[in-house]
């Protein structure tokens, strides 16, 4: 009878080699397919949606909802990486991704993404409710089909319209807890929707060469720097107005109002610097600031909610 040591030293069969080639990636490579940094911001905004939502669910179900949203977002990211693997290999920012770097076969990435997408939506429906599951499915399909497969390579409005996918997680989180929608989750959607263009156009300003090389019609490539810088400013004004709308409409308190005002002023200052500037430095700074801005804005929503719950201060 063959011993374990004999099996370890046996020469590889054709099946060994074929399986090893198709599934060559390590667990960390598969995790990288999910775009973990995007997934973490998605999960955080979704968490805020679940906390702000009226009603309550068992903590296990709340954690399940966040897990489903995070995995669903990651699945959409994996499908995006599968579709864009051809251009990812030609761009400096993305050529190290698992598929263009040859660590994972495209088909394996697609199967991984689709499996996670289907599983997360089913689990959301079984554990929470059909509204949340439907919204999650819509989010994944919108990102994978509408943005990635359709808009990204066809129009400079790609990230404007496609940004809806990134704006939906707090809405899904809200729906998971309450089973319905109302004005506040739609305002959260609007905030992220209006945040997306200045965020990605700031990136595109200093990565213009990459996008031009692969033919992705980002706004700086199609319309030039000046138009892009002006549009960044316009959307930044809209974003700041949206960010204070919860207070104006009586859906949030002064903690959020004051904080959103201060953050908005800082964001606008950086947007004006981009508008008035010509170099890459201001755009790089705005890109970094935009991530911190969104995170802090949603932290303020949580803080405001906590204050109101504690009853320390009224609206």
């Amino acid at each position: 009878m063959a011993s374990i040591s004999d099996m370890d030293m046996a020469p590889p069969t054709a099946k060994d080699i074929a399986v090893g080639a198709v599934f060559a990636g390590s667990p960390s490579d598969y995790f990288a397919l999910l775009k973990p940094r995007v997934m973490s911001l998605v999960c955080f905004t979704a968490m805020v949606g679940t906390v702000l939502s009226p009603g309550s669910v068992h903590p296990v179900l709340a954690v399940t909802a966040l897990l489903c949203i995070a995995v669903g977002a990651g699945a959409a990211g994996a499908i995006n990486m599968w579709f864009d693997s051809d251009i990812d290999g030609l761009m400096a920012r993305t050529r190290g991704r698992p598929i263009p770097a040859g660590r994972i076969e495209p088909g394996a990435a697609l199967g991984f993404g689709v499996s996670l997408a289907v599983g997360s939506v089913i689990l959301m429906g079984l554990a929470l409710n059909l509204l949340a599951a439907g919204l999650l499915a819509f989010t994944i399909l919108f990102y994978a089909l509408v943005y990635t497969a359709w808009l990204k390579r066809r129009t400079p409005q790609n990230i404007v319209i496609g940004g809806a996918a990134g704006a939906l997680p707090p809405v899904v989180g809200w729906a998971a807890v309450s089973g319905e929608l109302s004005l506040l989750p739609l305002l959260l959607f609007a905030i992220i929707f209006l945040w997306t263009p200045p965020h990605f156009w700031a990136l595109a300003l200093y990565r213009r060469d990459d996008y031009e090389r692969v033919g992705v019609p980002m706004l700086p490539v199609v319309s030039g720097d000046r138009v892009t810088r002006r549009q960044i400013l316009f959307y930044s004004v809209g974003l700041v107005l949206a960010s204070i709308s919860p207070v104006v409409l009586g859906l949030a308190g002064w903690v959020h109002g004051v904080g959103a005002g201060v953050l908005g002023a800082l964001f606008l200052w950086h947007a004006v610097r981009v508008w008035r500037g010509t170099g890459e430095a201001e755009a790089r700074t705005l890109f970094g600031v935009s991530i911190l801005y969104l995170f802090l804005l949603f932290v303020l929503l949580l803080a405001d909610h906590a204050v109101m719950l504690a009853g320390w201060l009224g609206r």
């Binding site: 399986v19 060559a24 399940t64 554990a127």
Partner: protein, 41 residues
């Protein structure tokens, strides 16, 4: 370490990751069941 050794090492790592994920799902499904039974009127 040969390429085949590296490939098998990655395969073992993937097997472990899949096993842990499946075990985690079993625990999650159990907890979800308890939670939903507890909230059912």
């Amino acid at each position: 370490m040969t390429e085949l050794d590296k490939s098998r090492r990655r395969q073992r790592a993937r097997n472990l990751a899949v096993g842990l994920a499946l075990a985690g799902l079993v625990v999650l499904f159990y907890l979800i069941t308890i939670a939903k039974l507890g909230t059912t009127p």
